[in-house]
Subunit: 166 residues, 2 copies
Amino acid sequence: MDQQHEDEVDRIVAAWQRERPDLDVEPLTVFSRVDRLARHLDRARRTAFARGHLETWEFDVLSALRRAGEPYRLSPGALVTQTLVTSGTMTNRIDRLEERGLVVRRRSPDDRRGVLVELTPDGLERVDAAMTDLLAVEARILDALEPGGRPALAALLRTVVGQFDD
Amino acid sequence: MDQQHEDEVDRIVAAWQRERPDLDVEPLTVFSRVDRLARHLDRARRTAFARGHLETWEFDVLSALRRAGEPYRLSPGALVTQTLVTSGTMTNRIDRLEERGLVVRRRSPDDRRGVLVELTPDGLERVDAAMTDLLAVEARILDALEPGGRPALAALLRTVVGQFDD
DNA sequence: GTCAAGAGTCTTGACGTCGAGACACATCGA
DNA sequence: TCGATGTGTCTCGACGTCAAGACTCTTGAC
């Protein structure tokens, strides 16, 4: 592992090491970076989506519908579990997406309590364009890795994330 | 890289692959996991801190003060840059931390516009306990990695995060 | 059939964050 | 000394999320 340049996390970890020499602070070298990376990604996404006039939360919902495949329909409950927000939040999101004409609510044919949320043609077009832009941005970020770095990183992350699947 | 078990991200990526065969969706294998990991970490932290009756945002601020070293004093502006929130948010946070007796505001001696936020003994005790708990939780999560996995993961993340330091 | 328990969706109020701008003071050049 | 510009902190209104609970309909046992 080359030493390139001291980054912000290195400084934070060094500070903790100095202040709490009784602790093993190595986990911070991983998790602080995960945190910061997630934050930066948020920003990158926001700017990527802004070109197509989409908000991050809109993409969250639309992309779940998009990757479900034709006819691009899911229940609010399914959207809740896929996007990891609460039901109240999802109701609010669907309301706003419906106002903007990106989805429509349909009554479920076989459960009268149920509702199905469906992508409109405009919603489909927007989410496809956003995904194209997003992948372009993300690919450029990963270009900093050496060959083999991408799958290695994915595999390591997968192992760690797997710890939470209980 | 062993194939262990298909995880949620694998399913998401496979779905995109099927729906958009024109795109290279490999970046998702990294960034989707970063996202999910960050979310899970949030939860893990919240429960770890709950034992010491601290909120995540409180720890954010208190830990910046703690690792600054004695006398555990920073300006609101410094706290803003370290915690990556806006100034309005920081004012609000300091207000609440002051009410709870975990920090105090002092006038800066050499800049009459300025303020210095200082950890109280109670704040110091709480943040130290929280850090101890947090590292225990994080270390256990990383135990899933093989030897050498931790530094490898940290190095890869560092390269990627470095892309944003502009 | 009927009733209890469960499932799916939506409503409500509280809360934390953001972004823009206000205000006080500092700094620097003329 | 004076004004212009920069810096540090705080105020305010809008917004999105959450948690808890209300409501409607379904399911299964009796």
